[in-house]
Every structure is written in C-alpha cells, then in structure tokens.
C-alpha cells in the first residue's frame, strides 16, 4: 500500500518548497520549520563530533610528542611507546565497551596506531620492507579488531589499507612481464576494481541478514564509488590508448564491452533489486564520463584542423549523453516514488 506523502517524515527544504508553491503561508511554514528544527538530533551530533574531535586531537598530540623526542629516544623506548599507545587505546576501547561509540572510536585509534608501531619497527630493525608489505602487515594485524568492532568506518579504513597495499604492490610485482607505466596502471586499476567490487558484493550480500551496523547507506556509496572509479579510469585509458598506432583497437573494444556489462549490472541491481538513487547517480555519472571520452575518440579529435561540424556534433552528443543520464535517473526516481 502506498503511504500518503502527508504521513512521511518532512524536512525543512520540503517545507520551503511548499511555501514556494503557496501551499503554506509564511507564518505556518515558519512555525513548522521551528518544530522540525527542534526535533533534529542535535545531541547526537554534538556528542559524536566532540568525541571524534577530542580523540583525533589527542592522537595528533601524541604524534607530535614522538616527533619532538624522536632523536633522544633509544630504540626500545620508541618501540615501547608505540606499542604502549596501541595497547592503551585498545584497553580503553575494551573498558568503554566495543558496542559503544567511544569504544569503537578508540578501536579505530588503536588500529591507526598499529601502523605507527609497524613504521617504528621497520625503522629500528631496518627491515627494508616494501611499502606494500607494510600496508599488508598492518591490514593483517588489525583484522581481528576490525571483525570484532562491528563498525563500518573501521571496515572502510581496513579496505583503504588493502587498496594502498595493492597500489604499491604492482610497481614491484614479480608477476608483471614488463614494468611499463601502462602495464602497471592497467594492473592497478583492474585489481583495485576487483578488490573493491568484491567488498561491495560482500557488503550487499550481508545486508540481506539483519545486521544493523552493516546497513549504512553511505557505506555502500563509498564501495560503489571505489569500484566504479578504477573501472572508468581503466576504460578511458584503453580508449585513449587506441590512438597509438602501434596498438590495436581490440583491447579498447573489449574494455568498453566489459565496462558496459559492468554498469548495466550495477544499474539493474540498484534499480530493481535494491533501489538506491545515489548509487545509480554515481554509476550514471561514470557512464556519461566514459561515453564522453568515447565520443571524443570516435570523432577523432586528435587532428590538427578540426571542422566546425565535428565540434557541434560532439557538443550535441555530449548533451544527449548527460541528458539521457539525467532522464534515466529522474524516471527511476519517479517510478520508485509511485511504487516504493
């Protein structure tokens, strides 16, 4: 059954639009706006904002303290202080309780401090480890806390570490047949897309079960953006690489076909299976961007003297691409408003 819009929660921008449409008088609108403003979650915002800020400032202060005394400390002191900071914040999190916001923030802090500990360890013992090894070790060591925390920002932090590890891995990977910048770029883009795509699939799969901490809409958007961005960059790279006379068009064609299948799949999922307009908007923006670059390539803008007609056609095509994207998004929105 469709709920009447009168019985849905109302926001201040909606009230102001009702005023614009002369459906409310200014006096009525102002009274309603005051009422809505009073019911906003001021306490929650202040509480969490001040807590996060306080912890961040103290952590930064500890960092400056280390920096100041670095040259005066012996190796064991350095290791002890870095390890002690990890232990102290972890014990603080255990004391505060892992389910409370304070406990989660302290767990996030201790996870960040593990990285400081690894860096200090690497410096003291001159391990000569590559950057990717540092980030992999960091992600490996904090994984139990990440799993324990049931805190989406900590999962995102963990995923960011894996992204960094992958990003630093390819330039030194023994599995690459050459170390041309293009090969490294392609390997990085594809592997990041696969990693973040896997995280997205897992996140979407797990939300089918009643896991309230997992069901944070904004986190899905971060995963979608993290998956779509490398996919788009890789496809655009393949499109432009086909301008090189020594390269065949087949890899660009294949990339476009795979990219099309990828965005159609995402579009289908977020329009039919689990509706999310912001996720669709990210996908659409990416598609429009790739299509714009494809247009530039197909119209062969790499010429010394471009005709006026080519400019005009390109402009009209690009407007049509973005217009089509916006039309798709608006029709999705309308359709889900009518049949939520």
């Amino acid at each position: 059954m469709t709920t009447s819009p009168l019985n849905r929660p109302v926001s201040i921008p909606v009230l102001r639009r009702l005023l614009t449409a002369h459906a409310l008088t200014p006096r009525e609108e102002e009274a309603m706006e005051r009422e809505v403003r009073r019911s906003l979650s001021w306490q929650l915002w202040l509480d969490r904002g001040l807590l996060s800020l306080g912890v961040a400032l103290i952590l930064a202060g500890i960092g400056y303290f280390f920096a100041h005394n670095w040259n005066h400390l012996i190796d064991m002191d350095k290791l002890g202080l870095a390890g002690g900071a990890v232990l102290a914040s972890f014990l603080g999190a255990a004391w505060a309780g892992f389910d409370g916001f304070l406990g989660k923030i302290l767990l996030l802090a201790s996870s960040a401090l593990v990285g400081v500990f690894i860096a200090v360890f690497g410096q003291v013992y001159q391990t000569g480890a590559d950057s990717y090894q540092l980030f992999t070790a960091w992600a490996f060591l904090i994984f139990p806390w990440v799993a324990l925390s049931r805190f989406m920002p900590l999962w995102i932090f963990w995923l960011a570490l894996l992204n960094l590890a992958l990003g630093f891995y390819w330039p030194v990977s023994p599995f690459l047949w050459d170390y041309e910048s293009w090969t490294v770029f392609r390997s990085e883009a594809l592997s990041l897309m696969a990693l973040n795509g896997l995280a997205l699939v897992l996140r979407e799969g797990l939300t089918r079960w009643p896991v309230p901490w997992m069901d944070r809409g904004w986190s899905a958007l971060i995963f979608v953006a993290a998956t779509v961005f490398p996919a788009s960059v890789e496809t655009i790279g393949e499109i432009f690489r086909s301008w090189d006379h020594e390269v065949t068009n087949s890899s660009a064609f294949l990339a476009c076909v795979l990219y099309a299948a990828f965005v159609v799949g995402l579009g289908f999922y977020y329009s039919r299976v689990r509706y999310s307009l912001p996720a669709l908007a990210i996908t659409t923006l990416s598609t429009c961007t790739v299509l714009t670059f494809l247009t530039i390539r197909l119209l062969d803008f790499d010429q010394a003297h471009l005709g006026a007609g080519i400019w005009l056609i390109a402009g009209i095509i690009i407007l049509s691409i973005f217009g089509g994207g916006v039309f798709f998004l608006r029709s999705q929105r309308r359709s889900h408003q009518q049949h939520p």
Binding site: P5, A314, F322
Partner: protein, 373 residues
C-alpha cells in the same frame, strides 16, 4: 522526524480536510519535479562540458583571428538571448539543459569578445559579471544558471579588489591602503550578511537560495584561496601599521564568529530561548571570542557552515562544512608558531577540552538522552 500531518495538527494553522488534500497534491507534484543536488550536479557537469564544444564550434566556424573578437562577443550575446528565451519555456529537462549549455557558451564568448582588447579588462569583467548575474537571475529561472553566474560575479569582484590595479583606470589612484582594507572587510561582511539574508528567512530563500549557495561557495573559496596565499602575489595591501593588520585579520574572524552566534540563536529558537538559556549563550560567546583571539578564522567558518547545513537540513552545505573543517583545523595547528613539544601539549590539551565539553553537554544540556546504537 515529524510528518507533515503531525506538523499541521501542532502548528495551529487552519488545516481543513480540503487544504490537507491540496497539500498532499502539492507534495506529490513536488516529489515528481524536484531534483536532488547530485542530479543537478550531473546536469551542470553535462552543460558545462558541452558548452566548451559549442564554443569550439563557433570559434572554428568564424576562425580564430583577432579581428573577429567583437563578432564572437556579438554571437555570444545572441546565443545568450536565445538560451534565455528557450530556457524560460517548459519544454522539458533536456531542452533546459541545452539552454544552460548554450548560455554558458554565450557568456564565455561575451567575456572573450568584449574584454580581451580593452585597457580596463578586469574592471569591465566585474561590471559584465554583475550585470550578467543580475539580468540572468531575473530572466533565466534556472537554479544552476543563477548559482553559476552569481558565483562568477562574486569571485571576479574578489579578484578585482585584491588585484588593486590602478592602471586599470576605474580605480581612483588616490585610494589608500586602509580604504582597500576596508573594502575587503566590507566584502567579507557582505558575504556573511547575504548568507543570513538568503537562508534564515524562508520567504527570502524562495527566490534567493541560488544566491545564498553562491555566497557560501564564494566565501569558502575565498578562505581556501587564503590558505594557499593565492592573493599575496596580487595584492599590494600591506596593512601598515601592524595594529591595522591585526584588526583586519581579527575583524574578519570576528564577523564570522558573530554570524555564528546569530545563527545559533536563530537555530535554537530565537530570542525567547536566548533569554531562557542565557548562561549557555554567554558560554558560547566567550568560546567564540577565544577562538577569534586565536585567529582560527577558517575553523569558525567551517563550524558556521556545519551549523547552517545541519539546522537547515541542507546536505550540500553540511557536506562542505565537513570537508572544510578538518582542512582548516589541520592548517591552524600545523602553522602554530610553537616547537613540537609545545604543539603536542596544545593538541592534547585541546583534545581533553573537547572531551570535557562533551561530558558537560551530556550532563547539563541533554540530561535525559541515552546514546543511540
């Protein structure tokens, strides 16, 4: 969150069943036509990219030669008039987007065509941008067009103020340093007052919301530009003697803090609440005064945007505040003129103050609240 039905019952207005039905119809129509900010952003990106191709078309058509500059300007005027005429019709979203793209292209042509040869290019650009913004605000009822033209006018004027180029001809050479400093202060105050005027009164925001957003963006850009010392190579404002420099810096921050105080009183419910919770607002005033004395202007501006965005439920302003806050805070602490140990102490002390403040707020301001899961 309350529903509109509940608000109608509690607001004391005269809501008959017929009026409620009309409200429902308006809401349905609003949901049909309204676009979230990210859809508007996609429209703007598409129009902006396409406008450069249209520009390329016109320039290629008539040839890129200096004697054709005025022709390009005239074509720009013609395109702008056509875009406005088309944009005023309700011919659908796609046609509106085309009109927006053509209007952007037309404006670029006007600036290029009429300004490049002029001896007073910058001053003329200010005049053009203000006139174009005003004319298009009235004639072209597109949110994005209004936002873009107002933002451009505000930033071009800012550039003009700081460049202080007396060779430009329109600035009187007799202007003194303090005159220009006052002008900078006045322009800052204009931004803050404009934001309040456009957003705090609902009946103003009906028409002036795009201008309000442009002022928010321009002020944020100004503060960010200051972070990178963008204006230092341009400006000849030396703020001598030293007390004047101190005044200029702190007056700007002070005005931002004052605006923060006014908006917080407004968000809390106005003068009635101010009288009821006077000690709280005295505490806030003292805190703001302390922040002003510290010279943390960017931080106060970011806090102002956070407050404004949260109390108006404007996600775009709130998001901007969330992005700017850590940037300005980091910049402030990084640039403190202290050694590392002292800086460490200041940071840890500030963190502890935040935690104490949190405890105090939970205990005295919201004593009945339990932490949400």
């Amino acid at each position: 969150m309350k529903t509109l039905q509940e608000l109608c019952l509690t607001s004391g207005g005269n809501f008959t069943p017929e009026r409620l039905q009309r409200l429902e119809q308006t809401l349905i129509e609003d949901q049909r036509t309204d676009m979230p900010w990210y859809l508007r952003a996609i429209v703007a990106i598409g129009a902006w990219v396409a406008s450069w191709f249209f520009l390329g078309f016109v320039i290629t058509l008539i040839g890129w030669q200096e004697e054709h500059e005025t022709t390009i300007g005239c074509i720009g005027v013609a395109l702008l008039i056509a875009a406005v005429m088309v944009g005023r019709k309700s011919w659908g979203a796609f046609v509106s987007q085309c009109a927006l793209a053509v209007s952007f292209a037309g404006q670029i042509m006007i600036y290029y065509g009429f300004l490049d040869q002029s001896h007073h290019a910058l001053s003329l650009a200010v005049v053009f941008s203000i006139v174009l913004a005003a004319v298009l605000y009235i004639t072209f009822p597109s949110f994005l067009s209004r936002l873009a033209t107002c933002l451009l006018a505000l930033q071009v004027t800012l550039f003009w103020i700081y460049s202080n180029n007396t060779d430009d001809g329109l600035l009187d050479a007799s202007w003194t340093q303090s005159d220009i400093s006052s002008f900078v202060l006045f322009y800052w105050a204009f931004h803050l007052a404009g934001i309040g005027f456009c957003f705090l009164r609902p009946r103003h925001s009906v028409l002036l919301a795009p201008l309000g957003y442009a002022l928010v963006l321009s002020l944020s850009a100004w503060q960010m530009e200051g972070l990178f010392n963008l204006w230092t190579p341009l400006t000849v404002i030396t703020y001598s003697p030293a007390w004047l420099e101190w005044m200029v810096l702190h007056l700007r921050v002070g005005m931002t803090a004052l605006t923060f105080l006014v908006i917080s009183i407004w968000a809390a419910g106005g003068m009635v609440v101010l009288r009821q919770k006077a000690p709280l607002f005295i505490g806030l005033t003292l805190t703001l005064f302390y922040l002003v004395a510290l010279g943390s202007g960017g931080v106060i501006l970011a806090l102002l945007l956070l407050l404004l965005g949260f109390s108006l439920q404007h996600h775009a302003i709130l998001g901007l505040g969330l992005i700017l806050f850590p940037i300005f805070l980091t910049h402030y602490y990084y640039n403190l003129d202290l050694d590392l140990l002292a800086k460490s102490g200041v940071l840890i002390g500030s963190g502890l103050v935040m935690l104490l403040l949190r405890g105090g707020i939970s205990r005295w301001l919201f004593p009945n609240h339990k932490e949400a899961a």
